[in-house]
Symmetry: C2
Subunit: 116 residues, 2 copies
DNA sequence: AATAAAACAGTAATGATTCTTAAAAGAGTA
DNA sequence: TACTCTTTTAAGAATCATTACTGTTTTATT
């Protein structure tokens, strides 16, 4: 079954694998990937494409932003009230574009409080 | 030498390689990567981390946004006036964050005019 | 229980990018 | 020109995240 206790921060597939392995000693990395992909496809979790090419996974699917720390290469939630809702931003982009704009990602980078 | 006639759209390293190869038949993909990285590090070109994991390169370093087409997997410029400058957005994020926020990327996705 | 469907472990394959190495090109100098 | 020192290069090997494949085991359904 595809129940992966998503309580942690923003783990990579590898980190999820290590974590889950403590409960299910025999699980394989391939299985973790398959389940993560399935959950992400169903919108149960969010897949974050980060600039280092390693995807992160987030159990929190609500609208919020992320900070990629150039120091520790970890991803943190960012408490941020945007002056404009993303949905409106997408709508504006859709209007001004020749094609169709369905969504967008806003990703911040910098240093986390530990690496700052 | 590191002069790669960047006149095209938003080519991947592979596409740059194919293009440059018509002029310099003996160039290697590694050389292309090295030069692209060098140019990107010096701010001469922009490296775009796209959600499919394949980087694109953009000779236009001015502030503008990109649309990733889920159909043809190509990247297009987006004519879009944001209601708030990105620099201000970064500043706002920096203030509300415990760490330091240095920059951000906003990437849109959807369908281009051909794939729409 | 019998059979069909889904999930699994293990591993091989893929594909973008980087690293390594040894050769070539270039610059400067006498 | 010949010689040394530095930089750039091609080619291919290595890396690393992710996916695909294969045969087996578990689960669901009748």
């Amino acid at each position: 079954m595809a129940f992966l206790g998503e309580t942690k921060s923003h783990p990579t597939a590898e980190e999820v694998y290590k974590e889950v392995r403590r409960q299910l000693a025999g699980i394989s990395l391939g299985t973790v990937y398959r389940n993560l992909n399935q959950l992400a496809d169903n919108g149960m979790i969010r897949r974050l494409h980060m600039q280092d090419g390693i995807d992160r996974f987030d159990a929190d699917v609500s609208e919020h932003y992320h900070l990629y720390c150039n120091g520790c290469k970890r991803v943190y939630d960012l408490e941020l009230k945007l002056p404009m809702q993303v949905s409106k931003l997408v709508k504006a982009a859709d209007k001004s574009s020749e094609g169709t704009v369905d969504g967008c990602v806003i990703t911040f980078w910098g240093k986390c409080v530990n690496c700052g």
